[in-house]
């Protein structure tokens, strides 16, 4: 495990590089693209586990924090999807540089899946793109976060205002401009692309996942990237707890990336 600092002088980003273990490193490095701030802490352990798992399987791996999130530079309210797509590109270049790999795959979790897909649509060359519990449509995602917040805050003596216009959501600054940008994300309009294959790794068959699957199957039939559908129901299916703590989906992602 090796910390790496990259990006521009006014947008320094922190990544953690995991060198491949074993004697025969794989050809493609794997970039992990995490979710947005609201789901950052909850998914941290899962992304760390996936990084170490993939490194043990011989992949050079890097995970990183977007601008305005985690340890990277920037105030929370300065981060926004448009900048984060650029960060995916910067992280990809850094990973190829530090690992010496010639090819790159990406695993995007939740909003990170949308960001990686957008980066690919804008020219980032990916062998495989894994969409892990992807945010298919930004509007549905923001509504879901607000529903989670409403339930969570029902336990608070003084619940924070987290509605539209409050400028905050689930403990983080969430300016109206960021909400607008987030709501505009739509993988059904900007279809995920990869040189070889798009993998969907999901723990439940949500309607939006199935819509994206159908679109990707149509695309594959027209000569686009192949689609690999990995539905791995978790023990605690229906809640995020199981998806975040179990190894099942992590192993499914590792085996999908291992397939030649």
């Amino acid at each position: 495990m090796q910390p790496v600092s990259f990006g521009t002088s006014d947008r320094q980003l922190l990544g953690i590089y995991y060198p491949p273990e074993g004697e025969q490193p794989r050809d493609a490095a794997v970039l992990l693209c995490g979710p947005a701030p609201q789901e950052y802490m909850l998914t941290y352990w899962a992304t760390r586990k996936l990084a170490t798992l993939l490194a043990r399987h011989g992949f050079p791996v890097m995970r990183f924090d977007y601008f305005g999130t985690g340890d990277s530079a920037g105030e929370t309210e300065e981060g926004r999807p448009r900048l984060w797509v650029e960060d995916v590109g910067a992280a990809a270049r850094e990973l190829l540089d530090v690992s010496g790999a010639y090819a790159l795959s990406a695993v995007g979790l939740r909003l990170g899946a949308s960001l990686a897909a957008l980066a690919a649509s804008e020219g980032l060359d990916l062998e495989d793109l894994v969409l892990w519990e992807p945010v298919v449509q930004g509007s549905a995602y923001v509504d879901e976060l607000r529903a989670i917040a409403a339930r969570k805050y029902s336990e608070f003596l003084f619940p924070p205002d987290q509605g539209p216009g409050s400028g905050q959501l689930l403990g983080y600054q969430f300016p109206g401009s960021v909400e607008e940008e987030t709501r505009g994300l739509d993988l059904l309009r900007t279809l995920p692309r990869a040189r070889r294959r798009v993998v969907m790794a999901v723990s439940e068959e949500r309607p939006l996942y199935l819509s994206l699957k159908a679109r990707l199957e149509e695309e594959a039939a027209r000569g686009g990237p192949a689609l690999s559908w990995r539905h791995e129901p978790e023990e605690a299916s229906g809640s995020l707890d199981g998806a975040l703590l179990s190894n099942t989906i992590l192993n499914a992602i590792a085996s999908a990336l291992e397939e030649a």
Partner: protein, 283 residues
């Protein structure tokens, strides 16, 4: 201000980010600040609290290391068999060694939230390099004043009745849950009231400042003065300070309360730096 990430420690198993002030801002003689895990959350802190605090303090002139205790966050397990607190003290001492080796101060303030206060307190007791400690929703026990309010005025607070209705409605609605909603699944090694008062008295007696902060989100803490009832005469010691955030939840989720906490911590640290300078001048 600049930040750099390091792997450090005797076993090269600890991971942290050191925020250093610009040389022109650095305050000679002021302590460095150590921030470790809040429960099992990694060094970024809930709602990015430790990152925000690190950067603000570094801009004021302090060195700040936010890091993961061994086995948590990005830090690897420490070899050997140790109890939780024993391991945390070893980690925190290695963090102090590291900051000093990097040209930082030789004295420290350790801050901890929730169970993070346990390790902060343990190392403060164990190591004289710690000249200040901050416990946020740290040590608490129910006092006669707590029970008095529990059975009387708390029952009449409108906010509690509103919460009761919100909870009931949320349960009936169902819908998505956040993983973090699960109740804490680990046990804290809380000292007895007598043990805590004895160790606090020893710390204050040796010149270590202590700031105890509480929120309205801590179930066992009912009113602003409860800490004074808990520690008695020690609450009047000039090195002992308290602050209370009745509208904040345990993790300062509301961005306004988050900001107020940062202001409180920075203000207390400014006082610590002033005192350190005065002590240096009189030495």
């Amino acid at each position: 201000m600049r930040e750099r990430a390091f792997v450090f420690g005797a076993h090269a198993n600890l991971f942290g980010v050191l925020a250093e002030p610009d040389p022109s801002d650095a305050m000679a003689g002021s302590p460095a600040v150590l921030l470790a895990n809040m429960g099992v959350n990694h060094h970024v802190g809930s709602n990015r609290l430790w990152v925000d605090l690190s950067r603000r303090l570094a801009r004021m002139g302090f060195h700040v290391l936010r890091f993961d205790l061994s086995g948590l966050g990005d830090s690897l397990q420490r070899p050997g068999a140790h109890g939780d607190l024993e391991r945390a003290v070893l980690d925190l001492r290695e963090a102090m060694d590291f900051v000093s080796q990097k040209g930082g101060p030789q004295t420290f303030v350790v801050m901890g939230l929730c169970s993070g206060a346990d390790s902060a307190h343990a190392v403060t007791v164990a190591d004289p390099r710690v000249t200040g400690a901050v416990y946020i929703d740290g040590f608490v026990w129910r006092t006669p004043g707590f029970w008095l309010r529990y059975w009387t005025s708390r029952k009449l607070e409108a906010a509690r009745w509103r919460r009761y209705l919100r909870r009931r409605a949320a349960r009936q609605r169902g819908g998505p849950r956040e993983a973090g909603e699960a109740r804490e699944i680990y046990q804290r090694e809380m000292p007895t009231p007598e043990q805590f008062r004895a160790s606090l008295g020893a710390l204050l007696g040796r010149g270590t400042a202590v700031l105890a902060i509480y929120t309205g989100g801590l179930m066992d803490y009912a009113y602003e003065g409860q800490i004074r009832e808990m520690v008695g005469e020690l609450s009047r010691h000039p090195l002992f300070a308290t602050d209370y955030f009745p509208r904040a939840d345990h993790l300062f989720t509301d961005v306004g309360e988050h900001e107020k906490l940062l202001v409180s911590l920075c203000s207390w640290m400014k006082g610590r730096a002033g005192r350190a300078r005065a002590e240096e001048a009189s030495a």
